[in-house]
Amino acid sequence: MWGQILVNGMIAGGKYAMLALGFSLIFGVARIMNLTHTAYYMLSAYLIYYFNQTLSMPLALSYILSITMVIVIGMAVYKVMVAPVRERFTAVLIITLVLAMVVQEAVLIIFGGHYRTLPKLVSGTTQFSGMTLTYQHLFTLGAVIFVLGAIWLLLFKSRLGIAIRAMAMDREVANLMGMPESQIASITVAISVGLAAIAGAVVAPLFIVEPAMWMHPLVVVMAAVILGGLGSIKGSIIGAFILAFAEVGLVFLLPQLAFLRGAVSMAVMLAVLMIRPEGLFGIFMEGER
């Protein structure tokens, strides 16, 4: 059972980490609290469903098309609707929330409220020290580790990464060093939306696809970011894994309380806000002078 907890925790953690990382980056660089974030995750899963099941395209092609389309949609939405009101925090909150609901309603109208499942990208199972693992689980795990590793390299070892982290730490100073803020913000939005789309794509075959699937991850992501410390990249990843293991552990160890899974993150978020608002690696408000 511990092995199951480990594998499921890693997959859920990886999903939340990808989402939280994107959420955190976009908040750091562009100061946008992007409530549409997990709607992109849902949209990506539905687009794969659409390309693969409705248009019967090959699965791999559906993945690529869907991720690309979500990034394009995300960028367009940012440029047209969010960027113009970027400096007004409340307006951003309202607009991004409304957009998320628009996505949900659109999905509901187009695909209906049915629960859908995606075909596995790889099929088959294997035995590993007494547990049965599907290849899809292993594939997802590998993909999650690969993407997180790639993003880590991008952020910490590349020129763009330095620019992004500098911009997240102190916008005004980064501007004074000649960093083109709007350009870097757009690139960050693309990376962030891309991460959400990839998260949706790689985990979708393991989960049920339905029009409200964006809500729970959004709560978890906000809790992870608050737990890790708003603005801390490392913190949001660690926060995501902690919450994922807490959820998975609850489901496996206390199955009779599994219905409380959704409450774990909210409880953690409230507790952190009351006890240690700056989170584990808190650099909360530091860039806000």
């Binding site: 590349s158 020129r159 330095i162 500098a166 102190d170 501007n175 060093m177 650099i283």
Partner: protein, 255 residues
């Protein structure tokens, strides 16, 4: 006044009821080092923030190398060749010192197409070498002393490879030894040339400073602000002996 390098024309800025900058005009030549002095609250910092586009002027113009920079974004202005430092050192506290200096090296002005991270790092290292804190390169910026922070600010500003450098209190919080070291760096920088892989244009400078005796040694000309207006300008000797300036500074030491 015909300074074709930097021209500031009738710049004004209001904060609510406070007229922080009132009709200020001056110019700076390509070869000049200009001191900007005045009592506290005179509007010195506001003035340079207006030039750098960090805040927007209510009226007036800033013309740099014949281009109108009024209302432009800060990064565009920096891209044109003006760099500045903040009065309170503001490092990227969670980045190592070397990465702090790599940031300006990546700006559109100073970046070289296709350059790898390693090369950018080497260039940033030369900037640290220049100000004399290369040995601290791997430390996080939050560990620096006040004096070293000021040097980091200067290193970051010169890594932008500016033609006009605006320093806001470069000697602030420094002890006499550190101050004279900093003054020496500033003079060397103004001469221009190559510092390792870093190229200095020998920038013109505007320096805000309260330590007048140190400032007067490195500037060609001084502009005095008081209550947001230019009180007077002239050579250091003229300004120091100007009764209006002495009056504005009453209760404060003047050289």
């Amino acid at each position: 006044m015909t300074g074709d390098f930097l021209e500031v024309n009738n710049l004004s800025k209001r904060f609510g009821g406070l007229h922080a900058i009132r009709d200020v005009s001056f110019s700076v030549n390509r070869q000049e080092v200009v001191g900007l002095i005045g009592p506290n609250g005179a509007g010195k910092t506001t003035l340079v923030r207006l030039i750098l586009g960090i805040i927007k002027a209510n009226s007036g113009q800033v013309i740099f190398k014949g281009q109108n920079l009024t209302g432009k974004k800060t990064w565009t202005i920096v891209g044109q060749g003006i760099a500045g430092t903040f009065q309170n050192a503001r490092p990227f506290a969670h980045l190592p010192i070397i990465a702090n200096v790599m940031v300006p090296c990546l700006g559109p002005r100073a970046s070289r197409r296709g350059e790898w991270v390693k090369t950018v790092e080497a260039r940033a290292m030369d900037a640290l070498e220049f100000v004399g804190i290369a040995d601290l390169a791997k430390e996080p910026a939050s560990r620096l002393s006040q004096g070293d922070l000021k040097r980091l600010e200067v290193a970051r500003a010169i890594a932008c490879e500016p033609e006009l450098l605006i320093l806001d209190e470069p000697f602030g919080g420094l002890n006499p030894t550190e101050t004279s070291l900093m003054a020496k760096s500033i003079r060397r920088l103004h001469k221009g040339g190559r510092f390792g892989r870093l190229h200095s244009e020998g920038p013109a400078m505007i320096i805000i400073e309260h330590k007048l005796s140190e400032l007067m040694k490195i500037v060609d000309r001084v502009i005095v602000l008081n209550f947001g207006e230019t009180l007077t300008m002239g050579t250091p000797e003229e300004v120091v002996n100007d009764p209006k300036v002495i009056q504005a500074y009453i209760g404060k030491e003047v050289v």
